[in-house]
Structures are given as C-alpha cells and as structure tokens.
Amino acid sequence: MTGYLERVRFLAGHFERLRGLQSAAVGLVLLTLAALQPVIDRLGSLERRLPLVLPIVFVFLGLQLLTRRLYERRFGSFVPHREPGAKATAAIRGGAIFIWLFAAALIDHRLEHDLGWSHPILTGLTGGAWGVLVSAHAPERRHYLWLAVGVIAASLFPWPKDSQFLFLQLMLGAVSLVGGVLDHLTLVRLTRRVAEEGRGEAL
C-alpha cells in the first residue's frame, strides 16, 4: 500500500510538470531556431527574417494547442492547488533563473573576449545545477541529473568563437526536448503502474 500511495502522491504533486510533451515542443522549436540561425543571420533585415521565423512560431503555437488537447483527452483536466503567493514566487524564481542564465552567457562571452576562454562553463554549470535541483526534488525525474551531467560535459569542450548564446539555446532546447519526452514517458509509466496497483487496492 505504501508504495502505491507514494506513487499516487508523487503523480498528483507532479501531474502538471510531467505533461512533458509541452516542454518538448518548446525544445523542438529552440533547436530548429538554433539550426536555422546561420540562415536567419544571412537574411539580415527583420522583414526578410519574418517569413522564415513566423511559420516556426505558428508551428510552436499549434504544437502547444495539440499537446494540451492530447493531455486533456488522455489524462483529464484539473486546477492545481496553490498556496497564496505560490504563483508569484514561482514566476519570480523562473524569471531569476532565466536572467541568471543570460547573465552567465554574457559573462562567458566576456571571458572569451578578455581571456580567450572558449568554454561556456558558467552557462553549463547553471543549467547543470538546475537539472540537479529538479532531480533531487523528484527521484522519478532523475533523468534531469543525467541531462545535467551532459550539459556540464558539453560546456567543458571548447566552442567556436562567439557561440555562448548558441550554446544556451542548444542547452535549453535539448534539455526541454529530451527532458520533456522522458517526463511524458514517466507519466505514462506511472499511471500504468498505479492502474495495476489501484485495481488491487480497491477490492
């Protein structure tokens, strides 16, 4: 009973975050934009870039809508319980992480120009620390620990000149895509498991 209840508790507490196909869509768009970056740069002006970027934005919005519908049909809908002020705290925390990530990329950029240091280590360490925190909070999401190791390892390699923001984009894209798909698989695996256990519990 304890294992079953622990799984129910974990699933309920992480039900929103485990809907990983939504963040996988974000990752897919970020990686597509990173791959197209040389073409986007060559196009020059904003008017010439828009016909390429706008369809990607529409595909992203379409994917978000599609995945939301898919989750509602397969896993139902809900309104999460939040303590007063929790939403604001989460928004501030999320904003602070993003600001720090950009600051880290900027510092890495400065280090390259001033010291010739071509490893985006600060960005990689920040991304890695976030991954470690996520996996420490939820043992069922330990795939973020492996992603953190991958990100830190990638940041130890020398990268081409001025590629700190490309590294940031690739890191966020890859972590969102792979982590999101693995979150989704965790959701499917756990709901299957509690379904097997739940039938036994409810006699």
Partner: protein, 111 residues
C-alpha cells in the same frame, strides 16, 4: 507501545481505507479535478472511483459537481475544507505513528 496501537485504532476509517486515502491524497494537490484525472491518478476503475467518491461526499469530505461541456458530461471533484483538514491530519498522524514505531523498534537494542 500501547499509545502506538491506540493511535492506530483511532485512525479515521473513512480516510484510512486505501482507495479513499488515494483519492483524498490525489485531490489534496488540486483545487479541482475532473473524473478522468482522478481515475488516472489513483488507477481505480470508474465504478470503484464512483462508489468511493459517493462515500466521501456523504462524509462531507469532497464536493462533486456534474455539468455539461458541450454535449459531454463533465464531473468535477474538489476537496472540501473538512476533507483537506482530514487528509492533512491523517498524514501528520501517520508520520507521528511511524516515528513512534521506529522508537519502539529501536528501544530494546539501545537498552
């Protein structure tokens, strides 16, 4: 030791039943949820879930609203304040009983 068994005997039977405990535990993470979500979270069959929800509603622990979203019927379930208090008290009590059991188990070996 007697305290430990008294504590176990005093547990609220409505909450302590495994399926209802799973439902209340799952509901405690949400303001409200639909029937499908609750079914996915607890793994209970629709029939069992329905029976236990009715019992919890009769005990005044959950609120159930039935409405239509277009042509589809939609059942929305939420924990009432009494239900939230009951499940939180239950988990606190279980934690305290667990600690007592650990102390009881460690007692003779320490002495």
């Amino acid at each position: 030791m007697a305290k430990l068994f008294e504590g176990l005997a005093d547990l609220d039977r409505t909450v302590h039943e495994p399926a209802r405990l799973a439902i209340l535990t799952a509901l405690s993470a949400f303001e409200s949820t639909d029937f499908l979500s609750l079914q996915k979270l607890t793994g209970l069959t629709p029939g069992n879930l329905s029976v236990h929800l009715t019992k919890l509603e009769e005990a005044g622990l959950v609120g159930i609203e039935k409405a239509f979203a277009g042509r589809k019927p939609r059942t929305s379930v939420r924990l009432k304040p009494a239900g939230r208090a009951a499940i939180e008290a239950y988990w606190r009590r279980m934690e305290s009983l667990r600690k007592q059991a650990v102390r009881w188990g460690n007692g003779p070996t320490k002495a």
